[in-house]
């Protein structure tokens, strides 16, 4: 693929260029549309929360003698006639039963009844009993973490880049990533579970990381533009993004490949839910993060800085020299 290197050259010199900054109105409209869809999608589809958030009991029977689902329903009703039971066969071999909130004792009784009904050893039945506060606690802590992280990142980036505008652009890009990622996740019909929350938290780190790499190149370019420069501020930003474009593409592919492998295996193989939840959120997040850095954060940064008098004046001069 010699062309990749060749294309990289053209991007580097500015011979080839994707108009990230010049066409920013278009990119912003697309971004706003994506955010709107992501926000509205759950309302249309109804977002499903995993059992950790709603409270309830879940049982998994590994390798039962038969996969007759009525055995499970009977087992649950033998303990509590009122309880709703949702039975699914996962991975073609295991039986998963989710019920409304049972007491702890009932949970254990159901577990025993299932082992008996399916003719497996009691140790082969996994049971979880989750109070309704559990998921809420995890979420609350995660939100705290998110808040603290954002404040710290804002400060660190502002110090490093010597402008708070980069921090703002990076963080707006991050919010964009989180909203779109959660939206796509919900659209895929996956229930939001603690594992998914971990995924979203990872993406938060990744998104900022990715933006920082690109912004560092922009910093280099704009810092080099002295008083005499052939480029406007926006063009410098755009060149920086284009010069790191090959890296952005390579990185997102390399980062997404292993995650895609987990996702694929996790989904086709029996219910490795934790794995598939975490990998779906991260897989989508990596791609969205790359997109957001290029099409949201970078043009936004340019937009925020161009209005500064010093920069606006210099841009005037540059454009005047060209005319």
């Amino acid at each position: 693929m010699r062309s990749m290197g060749q294309w990289g050259n053209d991007l580097y010199t500015g011979k080839a260029s994707v108009p990230f900054v010049a066409r920013r109105k278009l990119w912003f409209i697309i971004a706003i549309a994506l955010v709107a869809i992501s926000v509205l999608a759950p309302f249309v589809r109804g977002v499903e929360l995993s059992i950790e958030f709603t409270g309830g009991s879940q049982f998994t029977v590994s390798a039962p003698e038969s996969t007759d689902q009525s055995i499970a329903t009977d087992a649950v009703h033998s303990v509590d006639g009122e309880a709703e039971a949702k039975v699914t066969v996962v991975g073609g071999t295991d039986i998963r039963v989710q019920t409304t909130q049972l007491s702890q004792d009932e949970t254990r009784q159901v577990s025993a009844a299932l082992a008996e009904g399916y003719g497996v050893d009691a140790a082969e039945v996994t049971d979880s009993f989750i109070g309704p506060t559990w998921g809420a606690d995890v979420t609350r802590q995660s939100l705290w973490g998110l808040g603290v992280f954002l404040v710290l990142t804002f400060v660190i980036l502002a110090i490093y880049f010597r402008t708070w505008k980069m921090s703002v652009a990076a963080i707006i890009g991050l919010v964009d990533v989180l909203v779109i990622t959660i939206g796509i996740y919900a659209l895929a019909g996956f229930a939001i579970s603690p594992a998914a929350v971990i995924g979203f938290l990872t993406i938060l780190g990744y998104s900022l990381y990715d933006t920082t790499v690109v912004f560092d190149k922009i910093r280099e370019n704009t810092a080099e533009d002295g008083e005499i420069s052939g480029r406007t501020f926006g063009e410098s930003v755009n060149l920086g993004v284009n010069q790191t474009l090959v890296r952005s593409i390579n990185t997102s592919i390399v980062a997404a490949l292993p995650v895609a492998a987990i996702l694929f295996i996790g989904v086709i193989w029996l219910g490795a839910e934790t794995l598939s939840d975490i990998s779906l959120s991260i897989f989508v997040g990596i791609l969205v993060a790359t997109y957001s850095t290029l099409f949201v954060s970078a043009p936004l940064y340019s937009l925020m800085r161009e209005k500064e008098p010093a920069i606006a004046q210099r841009d005037q001069r540059v454009l005047g020299a060209r005319a």
Binding site: N9, K15, A16, S62, T126, Q141, I198, V213, T244, I278
Partner: protein, 565 residues
């Protein structure tokens, strides 16, 4: 950055890496063979090895329990789990008011109940106290354990006992039980009946007590503090009883005062262990006794006060979640994770070698391999030293970091290529690219480390494992970048294949358009080297519209092909 001999330095750095790896393996080998505590595989968390996890939430009226109370509760629950004969249980706090109990294997109901019972403080009179031995020296001069009590021994008092320290409580059966009682295997405190005598040991297991029925419980203690006695400068524990407790305690002290030992002793029992059994040296009717004497130091006074106060404030805990994972499911999950990781690595290897970096791809693969080895051995050592447990979330964290790690090399290689495009020699490009890439890597990785640290500190147990692996691998990633990837590049730059810019090396200056500029100028190999952007600007401006369109079209086409990769 350039030194007189980058080669020598590179070789030195790589040797350092080898030494470091050897040392880490050595440390773990020590752990395995000398201390017999480590292993050559990291310890697995419950979700991968199967087991039970119970999360308890403190039920306090409105305020969150203090750290001190939580610590106490953890200690007590840990003692209870140990007492039930479960080995390797882990009890940790989580957040402000949760306690997580993790037990390998399946927890039976008795263990669960024991965990959930709230801490109990009992106050009992003392019938008899003795050293903890459950053996005696027989006539043959041999140490013989006391026999197991004969069930036929009479177990009901012949005379109805009138008080809690009435020796009439001591039946032959109880006496035999007392002598045979082994402090190392305490009975379950939750089985103790309030209206019956109780056999208990002190915390150190050096004294054994035979106690009367329950006189008062911990709820009658309203406060306890470690104080210094004004008269003799000794440490003491100052107790305060509540209204009801003051009255009861006054009656008890009247009854005990002046009797012969052990009938004048009064025992505080926490979860079946005697934490203190002072003698009654005065009649105390104001509900404010203080415990002082031999063996009470600042530290022990503090601990005792805590225990008394905690017993007085039994936080009750409620189970908010309980998870049992079968061992089959656990090993299955691990298998999936590992297979996915290997496939992912394979795909990454294929992509970087065949598609983007040619021979340089092997440098990425080698770096990832070094990373894998170091991560593995560190996880083994951490399992041994700080009780790290690899969880499913941790495995996912490791797989995700493959991409993060590879990115440092990608950033570096792209920078090298940029330098080559500026017309530098390959050796020069490796040095200058390094100087520029370093900055970017440091700032962006610190953001990553920050994320991991914040998550680790603020998140709950599931997320912790993930955050930990994320942080650990990021640190390793920077380390490997410095002590492996860069020196390797320095050495490779001096080989004919790479240094000569062979088309397959991934560093071919011709294909990197170095000729495009063809400017000869000296540039200080510093980070701040002013790029002549004007030349680029010139070139841009001189493009005709047709050329520009052509370039864009070509770029668009290429972009198309790139995306079909």
């Amino acid at each position: 950055m350039a030194t007189s001999s980058p080669v020598r330095r590179a070789v030195r750095t790589l040797t350092g890496l080898l030494v470091l790896t050897a040392v880490l393996f050595g440390v773990n080998a020590l752990g395995v063979h000398v201390f017999k505590e480590s292993a050559w595989v990291p310890e697995l968390a419950l979700d991968l090895q199967g087991g039970t996890q119970i999360v308890l939430e403190a039920q306090t009226a409105d305020e969150t329990p203090s750290d001190e109370q939580m610590r106490q509760a953890v200690t007590i629950i840990r003692q209870r789990v140990d007492a039930s004969g479960v080995s390797e249980a882990e009890v940790t706090t989580q957040g402000a008011n949760n306690i997580v109990v993790q037990i390998p294997g399946v927890a039976d109901d008795a263990t669960r109940e024991r965990i959930e019972a709230s801490a109990q403080m009992q106050l009992r009179k003392v019938l008899y106290a003795d050293a903890a031995a459950n053996t005696f020296v027989g006539e043959d001069g041999e140490t013989t354990p006391y026999p197991t009590p004969d069930p036929s021994l009479p177990a009901t008092p012949t005379v109805e006992p009138t008080a809690g320290n009435d020796p009439n409580w001591i039946t032959p059966a109880l006496q035999a039980q007392f002598f045979a009682y082994d402090c190392a295997q305490p009975s379950d405190p939750s089985e103790a009946a309030d209206d019956q005598p109780l056999i208990a040991c002190d915390e150190t297991g050096s004294a054994k007590y035979l106690l009367g029925p329950l006189e008062m419980d911990g709820s009658s203690i309203s406060d306890a503090q470690a104080v210094v006695d004004q008269q003799n400068g000794q440490w003491a524990v100052q107790l305060r009883f509540n209204g009801e407790g003051t009255k009861t305690f006054g009656e008890i002290s009247q009854q005990l005062y002046g009797q012969a030992q052990p009938a004048n002793m009064f025992a505080f029992v926490l979860d079946g262990q005697v934490i203190s059994a002072p003698t009654m040296d005065a009649v105390i009717t104001n509900g404010r006794p203080s415990i002082s004497g031999q063996g009470i130091t600042q530290e022990t006074a503090q601990v005792l006060a805590d225990q008394l106060k905690f017993g007085a404030l039994p936080i009750s805990f409620e189970v908010v979640s309980s998870d049992t994972i079968s061992a089959t499911l656990g090993s299955q999950q691990l298998q999936i994770g590992l297979i996915a990781g290997l496939i992912g690595l394979g795909l990454v290897a294929l992509y970087v070698v065949a598609i983007s970096y040619r021979a340089l791809g092997f440098v990425i693969i080698a770096s990832l391999a070094v990373m894998a080895v170091l991560t593995y051995i560190l996880l083994c050592i951490l399992s041994w030293r700080v009780g790290y447990r690899l969880s499913l979330a941790g495995v996912a964290g490791l797989i995700v970091t493959i991409g993060f790690t590879a990115d440092s090399f990608i950033v570096y290689f792209e920078r090298i290529r940029d330098e080559l495009r500026d017309g530098k020699t390959i050796t020069g490009a490796v040095e200058d690219g390094w100087a520029r890439a370093k900055r970017t890597i440091y700032i962006s990785k610190s953001i990553n480390i920050l994320a991991a640290v914040v998550l680790y500190i603020l998140a709950d147990a599931t997320v912790k494992g993930f955050a930990f692996t994320l942080g650990l691998t990021t640190v390793l990633d920077i380390l490997i970048f410095i002590i492996f990837t860069h020196p390797v590049m320095q050495l490779l730059a001096r080989t004919r294949f790479f240094g000569g810019g062979h088309p397959l090396s991934g560093l071919d200056p011709d294909s990197l358009g170095a000729v495009f500029r063809g400017r000869a100028q000296f540039r200080a190999p510093a980070v701040t080297s002013p790029r002549s952007s004007r030349a680029r600007g010139e070139a841009e401006r001189r493009q005709t519209i047709a050329e520009r369109k052509e370039a864009e079209r070509r770029a668009g086409e290429r972009l198309g092909t790139e995306e079909n990769v």
